[in-house]
């Protein structure tokens, strides 16, 4: 990790309220870094969708499982990791929500939104045994180095 890099990690309960908590936490970081209001909205939505995915599909809403959220900041990027304790999944197995036959599906749009709103998106096997969603947003050049807020300096693991 470079001297300017920062790391924030929290462990969240498998609970609906964790979705709001994760969104709020990442929004505060994104705002402190200097992302525009529109970009903050996209980042917040992506975090929300990532944690919903972990809550619902990964951990299957089981309260004994945890959701692991981590944010890595460098001068150039904000990288968000969402890990669950489920069985994992392959991106190629996720149905395309824009396909005609899926338009009236009541679920399955979260991955699409994350892919659309972030600069990079991937799903890999996570160290927690389930899936790890990795999302990257490039930090606007004018905001580089603005990592000094209390929120983005937080480093310890916190149990929510």
């Amino acid at each position: 990790m470079t001297p300017q890099a920062k790391h924030l990690e929290v462990i969240l309960d498998t609970h609906v309220e964790s979705v709001n908590l994760a969104e709020e936490m990442c929004l505060r970081v994104a705002e402190a870094v200097g992302f525009s209001e529109d970009e903050c909205y996209r980042i917040g939505m992506s975090v929300r969708e990532g944690v919903i995915n972990a809550f619902h599909y990964g951990n299957q809403e089981k309260p004994d499982k945890k959701i692991h959220l981590a944010v890595d900041l460098t001068k150039e990027t904000m990288t968000i990791h969402v890990m669950d304790e489920g069985k994992g999944f392959r991106l190629e197995d996720v149905p395309d929500p824009l396909a005609e036959e899926n338009l009236l599906s009541t679920s399955g749009r979260g991955i699409f939104l994350m892919r659309t709103f972030m600069d990079q998106f991937n799903v890999v096997p996570g160290r927690t045994g389930g899936a790890e969603i990795i999302m990257v947003k490039k930090i606007p050049p004018s905001s580089n180095g603005n990592h000094g807020s209390p929120e983005s300096n937080a480093t310890p693991k916190q149990e929510a």
Binding site: V16, E17, E23, R48, I52, L98, S105, T106, R109, F112
Partner: protein
Amino acid sequence: MASLFATCREVGSDNGSVAIVDLSGRISLGEGSALLRKTVRDLLDAGQTRILLNLGDVNYIDSSGIGELVSGFTAVRNRSGELKLLNLTKKVNDLLQLTKLFTVFDVYSDEGTAIRSFR
């Protein structure tokens, strides 16, 4: 984060009454989605199958909220009714465009026009 609020009113039209649901806040996982689901189901249970959702004060929808809109649309259609949308904010409009749901929902920006469009 603000939750969702919903108030229902009924207006007459040439073809019968239309239930207009004025929504404000967030339609997202949890209370927001649940309230929307309950509101639409209550209207259907009361025999109302012509529903106009006014989203003018809805500033946020996530995938769960989108799913609930689709679920309501399907439930109403299964009863041979119509569920339409009124007054989309830019964020909601953009999301419906992105997800191609603009091709599914009838969307209006004028309440009178929306009411007259019901069969």
